[in-house]
């Protein structure tokens, strides 16, 4: 058997990882992470001190069976996940629940920003490059949005202001993020600099330089916090259906969803998308097919950065109403969202919703329990780890499959040697 045939079979197996299997792997990764997270909460619950146990692990004692053990924990993992998921939706099973509740608004608001960062990472991944710099692109984009809107605000006002400032702010964010994203793209394409490292470094640079500019050049003199002056209220995304105080606009969410469709269309139905996907799957074949590798890398990085920058624009326009330092890790969550979605734009929508729930639920958890909110940060890493090893779940599945088959064989005397060998042959190639 030549190595080519081996490669062929390996590839065939990867291809066999069909959409259903990818979905299954994503779900399995999610549940595994939650399981590990539960263990973590329990362990942490033993390590900290509290006056009364929030959760007791024991066994039922029917018919006077004596209690053999009972272990108390300071944190209740069930309560954590209850608050995390149900809390994020505003307790859908309680009386008087309305989908327009404030916590739901937070969830959807986070979802909206994560759609953009998730798409940003996904576009880069599909082009075969790692953009770990979405965070920095979001920072630069958000800052550009704030500066542009602040500069343009005096010229307009009222409804006309909303109609002009929001598109202008979004454009500024996209351009700022796009340029900042193009830097590592150009460094990779023309100087062969590893993009994983450069994008991570550029995150630090973005935070440092923007932080300096806000503090020294554009600081709101009336505030103690490191932030710019407030944007005018007419530059805020108009709230539809939801309470304006919730800082969430359905229009922004609709914009995000329309971009999902646009990115999907771009990848599947355009020449540029074909070039991008080909580069991502097989750079040598792309080159053979006339794809300009360098230009594609720069273009996909710029597009990725622009999407990240749009995320920053929304964060500034819809949520903050100005720019302030200490931007949440939307960019890193975007990596998880994209990986969880198999870098598929449609999948990004669902993964972003899931992460919106997690992020929004974190605040509920923080409020309702003593469990540190950093738990979600751990889950983020765990999910990536589990999604990264589909082989783990395949082995797990394969093992269960084999156990079942063995059981079946034991029950039947008609088993042949051939069946045994086919199994062994399958093992090698799993």
């Amino acid at each position: 058997m030549s190595w080519r045939d081996r490669v062929e079979r390996l590839l065939a197996r990867l291809v066999a990882a069909s959409a259903t299997e990818r979905l299954a792997i994503s779900l399995a990764a999610l549940f595994s992470s939650i399981l590990v997270g539960t263990l973590l909460v329990l362990v942490a619950g033993r390590m900290t001190a509290c006056s009364s146990a929030a959760f007791v692990l024991t066994h039922p004692t029917p018919f006077g069976v004596p209690r053999l053990f009972a272990v108390g924990f300071c944190y209740d993992p069930i309560a954590v996940y209850d608050r995390l998921f149900l809390g994020a939706l505003g307790d859908p099973f309680s009386a008087g629940w309305s989908p327009r509740n404030a916590q739901m608004a937070v969830t959807l608001r986070e979802t909206t920003v994560l759609i953009f960062t998730g798409l940003s990472v996904a576009v880069a991944f599909r082009a075969g490059v790692f953009n770990i710099g979405t965070q920095g692109q979001l920072v630069v984009g958000g800052f550009a949005t704030a500066l542009t809107v602040l500069a343009a605000a005096p010229a307009v006002s009222g409804f006309v202001g909303t109609l002009t400032l929001i598109p202008l702010g979004l454009l500024a964010g996209a351009v700022g993020g796009g340029f900042y994203g193009a830097i590592p793209g150009a460094l990779k394409a023309y100087a062969d600099a590893n993009e994983v490292i450069t994008t991570i470094m550029l995150n630090f640079v973005a935070t440092g330089v923007v932080g300096y500019l806000v503090l020294n050049q554009f600081k709101d003199p009336t505030s103690a916090a490191t932030q710019t002056r407030a944007l005018p209220s007419y530059a805020d995304f108009p709230a539809v259906v939801f309470d304006p105080r919730s800082n969430f606009s359905l229009i922004a969410l609709a914009f995000g969803i329309s971009l999902i469709v646009a990115v999907y269309y771009l990848l599947a139905h355009t020449s540029f998308g074909y070039d991008l996907r080909t580069s991502g799957l097989q750079p040598e074949a792309a080159e053979y097919g006339g794809v300009d590798a360098a230009r594609t890398v720069v273009a996909s990085f710029a597009l990725s950065g622009a999407l990240g920058g749009l995320g920053g624009a929304l964060y500034v326009l819809m949520i903050l109403g100005n720019y302030q330092t200490g931007v949440p890790a939307y960019g890193f969550d975007g990596i998880t969202v994209s990986i969880l979605a198999g870098n598929n734009p449609v999948g990004v929508g669902f993964a972003a919703l899931l992460f919106g729930v997690l992020k929004s639920g974190t605040t509920v958890v923080d409020f309702a329990t003593d469990v540190p909110p950093q738990l979600v940060g751990v889950l983020r890493g765990l999910i990536i780890l589990f999604v990264a090893m589909p082989e783990f779940f395949r082995l797990l599945g394969g093992r269960m499959d084999r156990v079942q088959r063995r059981a079946r064989r034991l029950g039947s005397t008609a088993a042949t040697d051939g069946g045994e060998q086919a199994d062994d042959g399958g093992d090698r190639n799993e």
Partner: protein
């Protein structure tokens, strides 16, 4: 290096680029010296004074410890064919664990020096365990090494502050004893270079680790197997040496070394701070660049780590001198330098099979 190659080979190119950067640093130094003589009271003059000050060298050595140790770990892993981009995570986890362990072992009173070393050891164990997880995921379950490495980083980035919050009710830990400086008599009196002999024990640990790593990689059978596993794993496999075993050992070694680095980082300050990017703040990623720049040579990695650490030390000294440069901008300098170095060095001579999963019996 003994890589004598035909003229015009990219290795020669890269070598000249490395030389170019080194020469540029030298020229800058001479210019500063000139500026010092001509205009002693300008920023440039001050800069020269700072660069040649022994406390700057001392600080640079101290800052270089976590970067160098993590870089040594990265060299072993990548030479064996496993790109360990999770060094940052290993540093974070060991930094927290070392402080936590020291604090716990010491109990009520202040920790003794012995307890501090014990704490460092626990930090090393924690980092090695995480590296072991990474190794299993990459070698056993064929995960993409880059994605798994990112996961290691993000897990540690969440886990350390989480644990700190659980134990200390905040992202920062309590303070513990810092190591006593070891001064070698007479040698420590030498101007400037005396800083080499009047340093934290962690600095000496680093020197030993650099020397040992070089020896192991270049003179032992294990080192040879590591290099073969990264260049042509089939050659090693068909020679009857298990590629997985060599790669496991190398990745675990990267956990040990990074663990020592992270522990040293936190213990030399006596506290773990977990806000934002934590106190590790990109040192693991800088470590990757230092070994790329050092062409996978432990000594080269140490020297380039010293260069980056020197920038950091310079930044601290500059702030005390008060040059008027805002600190938030000065702090960005090492990161920008990393990008510039990467862009100038370009693609490095990475091991042929790095990043690829290897399955024995494939043909």
């Amino acid at each position: 290096m003994s890589d004598a190659r035909a003229d015009g080979s990219p290795l020669a190119d890269r070598f000249s680029k490395r030389t170019g950067i080194t020469v540029a640093v030298g020229v800058l130094f001479v210019l500063l010296a000139g500026a010092r003589l001509a205009f002693p009271d300008t920023i440039a003059g001050d800069l020269f004074a700072i660069v040649t000050d022994r406390t700057t060298l001392g600080a640079a050595l101290r800052f270089a410890v976590p970067i160098t140790l993590a870089a040594l770990g990265g060299i072993f892993a990548e030479k064996s064919g496993v790109i360990n981009i999770g060094l940052e995570g290993l540093l974070i986890i060991s930094a927290f664990t070392a402080v936590y362990a020291t604090d716990t072992i010491a109990g009520e009173g202040a920790a003794t020096q012995a307890e501090l070393w014990l704490g460092l050891l626990v930090g090393v164990v924690a980092s090695t365990l995480l590296a072991g997880l990474f190794a299993v995921v990459c070698i056993e379950f064929r995960a993409d090494q880059i994605i798994a490495g990112l996961a290691v980083w993000l897990i540690a980035l969440g886990l350390a502050p989480f644990a700190s919050q659980v134990v200390y009710d905040g992202p920062n830990t309590a303070s513990v004893t810092t190591p006593a400086t070891v001064t070698i008599p007479v040698l420590a009196e030498i101007p400037f270079f005396g800083a080499l002999f009047d340093a934290s024990p962690f600095v000496y640990l680093m020197f030993i680790a650099v020397g040992l790593s070089w020896y192991v990689l270049n003179r032992t059978a294990f080192g040879r197997h590591v290099r073969a596993a990264g260049e042509n794993p089939k050659a090693l496999d068909t020679a009857g040496v298990s590629v997985s075993r060599v790669r496991y050992a190398a990745v675990l070694l990267s956990g040990v070394l990074s663990g020592a680095g992270g522990g040293a980082l936190a213990l030399s300050i006596g506290q773990f701070t977990g806000n934002g990017a934590t106190m590790v703040n990109g040192k693991g990623f800088i470590a990757i660049v230092t070994y790329l720049f050092g062409n996978y040579n432990p000594v080269g990695a140490f020297l380039s780590a010293l260069l980056f650490a020197g920038l950091d030390a310079l930044q601290f000294s500059l702030q005390t001198v008060g040059t008027g440069l805002p600190s938030s901008l000065v702090r960005v300098i090492p990161f920008v330098t990393v990008i510039l170095v990467l862009a100038l060095v370009g693609r490095t001579q990475i091991p042929e099979a790095a990043g690829d999963h290897y399955e024995s019996g494939e043909d």
